[in-house]
């Protein structure tokens, strides 16, 4: 049986490479100074979907919600083997927290009629791991979090191994299902040369800045990446953007590394003896 898989992918700032310039004076993050990347665990989710397609047949659609720049990760998904890509973008999505994000994504996924929805466990910018379970709730389907391996997929039944933090569990359920995938699950394939050549020129309408001629041309070549806004999704505005987001930011502080009155110890036997002596005297050890 062939399966219709939808993978949710997010473009995130590379938080591993945050340097001084990436922080504004007021403690907020200067996103412009950070390279934007494909959220790492979403690559594992994509790989899992591609493996399902390889063994069972079917289709893989990648969906990203974000600014037009997120078209980059959608193209990357196409290079790696996704059949279709959708950018959900709309100024009214701004300031969405995970609840609003999952609502908006649910409107998009409903249009795609997925058998299996795959998310990364968590995105490295917010590290919340909330969007997957919230999306499953909004779709009214079963969720399985921390998936490490698909053990069996047959007809409308799936059996997976999930990491429970202190071991593992093998569970079985009926489709449709939403899986959140962890980085131990697989090694994502790299872009294939053929897919790269084929999709190199794929663009979203937003990237073409509304140039109707260009849009038409790419559409005819099958290179127009789908772009959906909230009107197209028939989203209820009360659940989107700032209005749909119960959580608000009260304050942001950049992490100031507390200077602790560091004492330098000579790397000699005497220096170390003195330090150990001090630690015994103040009852830290002994």
């Amino acid at each position: 049986m062939a399966y219709n898989c939808v993978v949710l992918i997010k473009q995130v700032p590379d938080t591993k490479r945050i340097t001084g310039q990436a922080m504004n004076e007021d403690g907020t993050v200067n996103r412009a100074a950070l390279p934007a990347i494909f959220n790492p665990e979403d690559l594992n989710a994509l790989e899992m979907a591609l493996q399902i397609k390889d063994t069972c047949g079917g289709k893989v659609t990648a969906v990203a919600m974000g600014l037009p720049a997120a078209s980059d990760v959608l193209r990357e998904a196409l290079f790696r083997g996704a059949d279709d890509a959708v950018l959900v973008t709309d100024r009214r999505c701004a300031a969405s927290d995970t609840l609003a994000t999952s609502y908006i994504l649910s409107c998009a996924v409903k249009k795609l009629k997925a058998d299996i929805v795959l998310c990364g466990r968590q995105a490295i910018d917010g590290d919340t791991a909330q969007v997957g379970p919230q999306l499953a709730e909004k779709l009214g389907i079963t969720q399985i979090t921390y998936v490490e391996e698909i053990k069996e997929l047959k007809d409308d039944e799936i059996s997976v191994k999930r990491n429970t933090g202190n071991g593992w569990q093998q569970v079985k359920t009926k489709l449709p299902v939403l899986l959140t995938v962890i980085d131990e699950a697989n090694t994502p394939r790299v872009a294939g040369a053929k897919m790269l050549m084929k999709n190199k020129k794929a663009r979203t309408p937003a990237e073409l800045e509304g140039d109707a001629g260009k849009i038409k041309e790419l559409e005819q070549k099958g290179l127009l990446i789908k772009q959906w806004d909230l009107d197209f999704l028939e989203a209820d505005m009360q659940w989107c953007g700032r209005d749909g987001s119960p959580t608000k930011v009260h304050r942001i502080q950049s992490v100031v590394l507390a200077a602790k009155g560091t004492k330098q110890i000579e790397a000699t036997q005497d220096g170390l003896n003195d330090m150990i002596h001090e630690l015994i005297v103040d009852h830290t050890i002994g």
Partner: protein, 343 residues
């Protein structure tokens, strides 16, 4: 959607597996009871399980709960997202608590978002601190008092964000394991146990658990007074022996950075930091660790920190009380010698 109400209680989800309460739930009881006191409301634990979990109620009360809402049903024996979600969803709508807290355990992080989505409430993941405070919207001058300040690192630990929700309740948060101190039990504390009738059936269990394997953690970092943690600078799995030796002679536990784990020097159970365990020992010795923010966020609350690194500018020295610049291969043996002679 639940409206803001100042009389709502403070709740903690008392996570149990096979009749054993999770440490994180107990850690949350101390902070939860403080928050409830500040707000002048009752503090309750919510306990779900099969018909054998009742004895845990006393423990929850001894650790700080005024009340326990007890939901027992044979189908609640094993945690499942949908069944647990449904029972707590009903309880939240029945009692309208103002705050509901969960441990950021794998179970808490599976359940809380599903529940928050169903209740249409805000949820903040992985908090490292919770306080009561007020918020003012500068533009309008509107002021909200007695809100839950949900404090958490974000952007890979580079910023600390304080999140609030003031227009819809409950205020929900998951709290990281190990960031709140474990309270002392008080065996004389009394509280109320409220038995709840549970309405679930087989349809609320869409998942079948086929097999399960529990691996005891290889190390209990949170309980260790002394931790000696090694990083990529230790160089090899063999050389990690130095870390074990130093830990052993101090009666401590070996820890590691993610880089050391990824390099295969030591098992993942030993990882300290944002994606590992959060620790606050009396003494933390960091050897061959650069001090990335993701590592620091899991250890910077240690009472005393010794850092050994051959790079005098390594960021780990910013949080160290004792700075030792040099080659760990020479320094650790000298340190062991010093300890053996003195202790």
């Amino acid at each position: 959607m639940i409206k803001v109400n100042k009389k709502g209680e403070v709740w903690v989800f008392a996570e149990q597996h096979r009749g054993k309460l999770e440490d994180t739930s107990l850690e949350l009881l101390s902070r939860g009871s403080i928050l409830a006191k500040q707000l002048g409301v009752k503090f309750a634990a919510v306990l779900l399980g099969d018909n054998n979990v009742k004895p845990l109620c006393d423990k929850l009360i001894h650790f700080g709960a005024d009340k326990v809402y007890l939901a027992q049903h044979p189908l609640l024996e094993h945690y499942q997202t949908n069944s647990y979600n449904k029972v707590i969803y009903d309880l939240i709508h029945k009692y309208e608590p103002q705050i509901v807290l969960f441990g950021a355990t794998p179970t808490g992080r599976d359940l809380a978002p599903r529940l928050a989505s169903a209740v249409k409430a805000g949820l903040t993941a992985d908090c490292t601190d919770l306080q009561i405070g007020s918020h003012e919207i500068k533009k309008t001058g509107e002021k909200y008092d007695n809100l839950l300040m949900q404090i958490r690192p974000a952007f890979g630990g580079n910023i600390i964000a304080t999140i609030i929700n003031y227009d819809r309740w409950p205020q929900m948060a998951t709290v990281r394991e190990g960031v709140m101190p474990m309270p002392e039990a008080n065996g004389t504390r009394k509280g109320e146990i409220i038995n709840e009738t549970v309405h679930i059936n087989q349809l609320d269990l869409p998942i079948e658990i086929i097999a399960e394997h529990i691996q005891a953690k290889k190390v209990n970092l949170k309980a260790s007074r002394v931790i000696v943690a090694g990083g990529a600078g230790v160089g090899s799995k063999d050389n990690f022996k130095l870390v074990y030796d130093l830990a052993n002679c101090l009666g401590g536990a070996p820890g590691a950075t993610r880089a050391a784990v990824d390099l295969g020097f030591i098992d993942r159970d030993h990882q300290i930091g944002q994606t590992g365990t959060t620790v606050r020992p009396s003494l933390y010795i960091a050897v061959g660790i650069s001090g990335a923010i993701q590592h620091q966020s899991g250890m910077s609350d240690s009472q005393k920190i010794i850092a050994i690194n051959n790079d005098p500018d390594a960021p780990i020295f910013n949080v160290a009380h004792y700075k030792i610049v040099g080659d760990l291969n020479a320094i650790i043996p000298m340190m062991i010698k010093a300890i053996k002679e003195k202790v």
